[in-house]
Amino acid sequence: MSGSTSPAAVQATGIGRVFDAKGGPVTALDGIDLRIEPGELFGVLGPNGAGKSTLIKILSTLLLPSTGSASIFGLDVVTETARVRRIMNLVAGGDFSGYGLLTVREQLAMFAQFYGLPYREGMAKVDAQIASFGIEEIRDRKISALSTGQRQKLNFARSFLNDPWILFLDEPTIGLDVSAARDVRDRVRAFQAEQPGRTVLLTTHYMAEADEMCDRIAIVDHGRILAQGTPTELKRMVQKDALFVVGIDALPASMSLDSLRALPGVISVAARDADGSDASGVGSPMRRLAIGLKEDGALGGVISTLAAGGAHLQEISKSEPTLEEVFVQLVGRGISESDEVSDGE
């Protein structure tokens, strides 16, 4: 997808941002190059302080870059801010905006006017969003009486009112319970599916969320993009070889792990269940072998050898690294460790 010459939804070139701080200038972004295609759901993954929010603020016209340039659907975020704002919307996690005295419906109606929707069309969209998020029962409730999850659903409903071509989501599920987070993720997917070309830029430090939702991901740390690609591409970066887990009843007496390692195309063989006990606790005992191969095709030789030796095959699965492992390899620490040592953005 990247490298295309067709117009991009987001095009950032050499974006840098330096903040003045008491202890001296702080570089939040350092030469970010980014291209997001129309219709993509692009994730920016990184620990607190990595520069994710700064990047989203620049792209959403809230902040000027110190260096570089960026455009949204060909509109410059520095010089064509008014036009950019007509096609975008933003949801941030932990957002408690709004007026406590207004009801949910009134609040949405107010923003529909701010977004330039004609009154009737605006009210129809307000009611449609209320229905879409399943918050009909709180439509006449004051904002001050809403729970965190309800508030975030309201924020999402607000952000969909103007049918934005680009939606910026800055840690949108932070503080939400599992069910509410799943609801909003489903709505984001549905929102994109409704109209080809709708683009979403998501910042998060929830690995599973990024893995589940994003077409492509950029891993950011200390203001730089360390790697970007599809989740599968990123995982391949840390695991170039194929890794399979093979479950058998027992390793034949005539066979050792070393003999398996000697097979063509086999790189490594390790016992996953060192004690040989039944991993599940039920049924026949099973022994799992983690087998690293130069290519998937070498698996056939391993299975044939095991079968010829008398082992009964019980399971085969291909093992993939997680984004967490990708992150650790690229950043040099886990995301939770990063959060602890970070100063925050």
Binding site: P38, G39, E40, L62, I87, S97, Q113, K142, G197
Partner: protein, 296 residues
């Protein structure tokens, strides 16, 4: 996951988006107008939704008014001054709303996260500020009317309004000038932080004195003339006193017509300065990154 649009489809999509984002002048004006109304709504509805606000906004001004009236009566002052005090107290409600509510509003909007949403919406801060002002003024009208009615009922004040249109014009011009100043104050308070807020509270009583709430600005000599040129409250109360209480017309520092012009000029000047300050806020906020950001 989304499915990306590339090639000719992407080109067509971007042409469509560029067309959608090119708003005509008429559309921009209509949008600004409805945004003003939309932002005014929470201000107007607020008083009805939170009766305690109305109660406290009425009780304290009426108590203040009573204390001045009792003081004036104990000194045997002409009853015309009682009528004047009641009107000044009613007009003071607008002033207090300007200094406290308008002044602190952007500060509050920023800390609640609303300011970021306003900035990222295709609506100018000018429309938001105007909505705040109009909504604020409309919300205070009920209070001002109740204070006036309470004063009339409690103290039997009498008014002789020869020209109701002129009276309405004076009130309208006074309120417009005050809220125009309020737009400036809201920007200044946001830029200067809590210090400006504290300074505003500190100067509240002196400003009321200089505004002619307790005594005509004419009696203050040069200080009164200066106040007339700076504080919208001063020409507004001075003109109101001349129009609604003719017995006190001789206490006016300038003819009503001139004071109306002063109020009009103040509305325009403060409006222009306010507009510049709002643009400055956005510019500085986007450049520095802190002014618009919520203080977490």
């Amino acid at each position: 996951m989304g499915s990306s649009v590339v090639g000719a489809e992407a080109t067509a999509l971007i042409s469509r988006i560029h067309e959608e984002t090119s708003w005509s002048l008429g559309r921009r004006v209509r949008h600004a107008f409805v945004s003003v109304v939309a932002r005014a709504y929470p201000r107007v509805i607020g008083a009805a939704r939170e009766p305690s606000w109305l109660f406290f906004d009425l009780v304290f001004p009426i108590l203040g008014m009573c204390s001045i009236v009792f003081l004036l009566r104990s000194r045997g002052v002409d009853e015309a001054w009682i009528a004047s005090t009641i009107l000044a107290t009613a007009l003071l409600s607008f002033w207090i709303s300007v200094v406290w509510m308008m002044g602190a509003q952007f500060h509050w909007e920023r800390d609640s996260g609303n300011l970021l949403l306003y900035i990222t919406a295709p609506v100018g801060l000018g429309a938001i500020a105007l909505g705040m002002a109009i909504g604020g003024a409309l919300g205070v009208v009920i209070r001002a009317v109740i204070i006036t009615v309470a004063g009339v009922l409690l103290f039997g004040a009498k008014y002789q309004v020869a020209d109701p249109f002129l009276l309405a014009l004076v009130i309208l011009a006074g309120v417009a000038a005050m809220y125009s100043l309020g737009v400036c104050l809201s920007s200044v308070f946001l830029i200067s932080g809590r210090e400006a807020d504290h300074l505003g509270s500190l100067l509240n009583e002196p400003m009321q004195l200089l505004g002619g709430v307790y005594a005509p600005v004419r009696s203050m000599g040069t200080v009164g003339v200066v106040a007339l040129g700076i504080l919208p409250l001063a020409p507004a109360i001075d003109a109101l006193r001349q129009v609604a209480v003719p017995q006190l017309a001789q206490t006016g520092i300038l003819p009503v017509g001139v004071e109306l012009v002063i109020l009009l000029v103040m509305t325009i000047v403060f409006g222009v300065i306010g507009r510049m300050l709002l643009a400055h806020i956005e510019r500085v906020g986007r450049a520095g990154g802190k002014l618009l950001a919520r203080a977490d």
